[in-house]
């Protein structure tokens, strides 16, 4: 398959979306089904479990305090990288398997549910579940890649274990690659409004219209209000951040937003108890949501991102359950120490061997190769991280913050 500067080799789905992987997943609706899901996945190669700690710790069915969790689960299952879904329930939980399968009825992929209490316990459920996912995996073996325009590609941008190299090397280099992707018709999303605090005046200048500007201000201000009220300011800066040379949240934020490049901000995606918005047209988007690191990746993949770029200073091993993660470090020492985990050495910018643009071009080419099937370091090592963020609705309610944007 030929891939040029504006195309990649992806899997066309019948609804016109494009996957870069064919991942079969087992999605428990409730924590009580997590272990059964693991036992099923142990029996079949190429299957991941999306375990989480929700599904039954609220009085149901209304109001849906866990609406954001459910929206994110649905979004992850709908993502075109996912080629088959086994929804696994226990039976007596609040979040019923049926609720998820109903919302996934139109998805262009097999979605099957299995309920442990109805099926007759562990042995029968594991046997039946393994049969179902094995068949889904077999079906994907016949899928072939086609040449696809970059307008079908959405990138998730995240960072973790940042230090002061992140804002001058890794994030600007990713920003350069994001500018190239958007020029070629692609889409990128970044989240973590906590790391936008102190940069609103820069981000709002890039908003395409006053509505987007107001949404940026509202999103960041809401996040700041929540964090201040919870009295958790110290955690805005991790010990590793400070040791790595970051002095204040303003400095950390100014470094973090570099990964979004320099193109106009087309929109702010709501990610709340009521709705999970997706980009409607190509371009650069911000996304609401308190989740950091893997939680944040879930937000963005649930909104449709097929490839993740993760920048780190101190070093990270992270991968993701349903999307390849390209890890970029701006710290030359981290690259030397943890080369097995790092895909791109933006530390060459610090040592003066390469420019931001040169590393940006390397990242852009790698995005196309990875979207076309090349494995990243975390994929070949077997990392399949999954976390989901469940906001406490009492926080917004107590602070008088209106749900959504």
């Amino acid at each position: 398959m030929k891939t040029g500067e504006t195309t990649f080799a992806g899997y066309h789905r019948s609804d016109a979306s494009v996957g870069v992987r064919n991942q079969v997943v087992i999605m428990p609706t409730v924590y009580c089904a997590n272990e059964t899901a693991r036992l099923i996945a142990n029996r079949v190669d190429g299957v991941v479990t999306l375990s989480h700690p929700f599904g039954c710790d609220e009085p149901g069915p209304e109001p849906r305090y866990q609406g954001q969790v459910i929206n994110n689960l649905v979004g992850i299952a709908e993502n075109p990288n996912v080629a088959g879904v086994l929804v696994l329930g226990l039976g007596c939980e609040v979040l019923k398997a049926r609720e998820l399968t109903d919302r996934l009825a139109a998805a262009p992929k097999p979605v099957v549910s299995l309920v442990i209490q109805e099926t007759g316990g562990t042995v029968k459920t594991v046997r039946k579940g393994a049969e179902i996912v094995r068949e889904m995996v077999e079906e994907t073996k016949g899928f072939e890649r086609d040449e696809v325009e970059l307008s079908h590609l959405t990138l998730a941008l995240d960072c973790g274990g940042s230090d002061a190299t992140s804002g001058i090397a890794a994030n600007p280099a990713v920003g350069a690659a994001v500018d190239m992707l958007i020029d070629a018709g692609g889409t990128a999303i970044f989240t973590e409004p906590g790391e936008m605090i102190g940069t609103e005046h820069i981000l709002t200048r890039r908003a395409v219209n006053p509505e987007v500007r107001d949404r940026i201000n509202r999103m960041v201000s809401n996040e700041e209000t929540r964090w201040k009220a919870l009295d958790i300011e110290p955690s805005w800066m991790s010990p590793g951040n400070v040791e790595g040379g970051l002095t204040t949240i303003e400095e950390k934020s100014l470094g973090a937003i570099q990964k979004g490049g320099s193109t106009p901000i087309c929109g702010v995606l709501e990610n709340s108890m009521r709705v999970l918005e997706r980009p409607r047209r190509p371009g650069l988007y911000l996304q609401d949501g308190s989740g950091a690191d893997v939680h944040g990746v879930t937000h963005m993949v649930a909104a449709g991102a097929q490839v993740v770029i993760f920048t780190t200073g101190k070093g990270s091993t992270v991968g993701y359950a349903t999307a390849p993660v390209i890890k970029v470090t701006g710290n030359p020492r981290t690259f030397d120490h943890m080369e097995d985990d790092m895909d791109v050495n933006a530390g060459a910018i610090i040592t003066g061997q390469r420019s931001i643009t040169q590393v940006g071009e390397e990242i852009f080419r790698m995005i196309i190769r990875v979207a076309s099937g090349e494995e990243t370091k975390s994929e070949s090592l077997g990392y399949r991280d999954f976390e989901i963020y469940g906001p406490n609705p009492l926080v917004n309610k107590t602070l008088g913050i209106k749900e959504g944007l």
């Binding site: 190299t165 820069i202 300011e233 400070v242 040379g245 002095t247 303003e250 003066g352």
Partner: protein
């Protein structure tokens, strides 16, 4: 020893390797041009900040051309700039 000054208005530069007290540090711009040399008045770890000018208590610290905090102690030219002498203006 090199230190990157990102924006012309910056009061600090980022050292690109570990610096010892007394080292001469070459300050460069983001297009790689040499701007000037300063002498470090203390040890500064890689990626941490060196002060490009004398800064009094309450004065702003600028990086990326943006205010990133204010001085809580008097900071001499060539000194290590970090949490021991700077605080956030947003969150304390």
């Amino acid at each position: 020893m090199r230190a990157l000054r990102i924006h012309p208005e910056d009061t600090v530069a980022t050292v690109l390797a570990d610096v010892e007290e007394g080292d001469e540090v070459t300050v460069i711009s983001d297009d790689g041009k040499t701007l000037r040399a300063i002498v470090a008045t203390g040890a500064i770890p890689m990626a941490h900040k060196v002060s490009l000018e004398k800064t009094e208590v309450g004065e702003k610290i600028v990086k990326y051309g943006e205010v990133v905090g204010r001085a809580t102690h008097s900071i001499g030219k060539g000194a290590h700039v970090h949490t021991h002498n700077v605080e956030s203006m947003r969150v304390r």
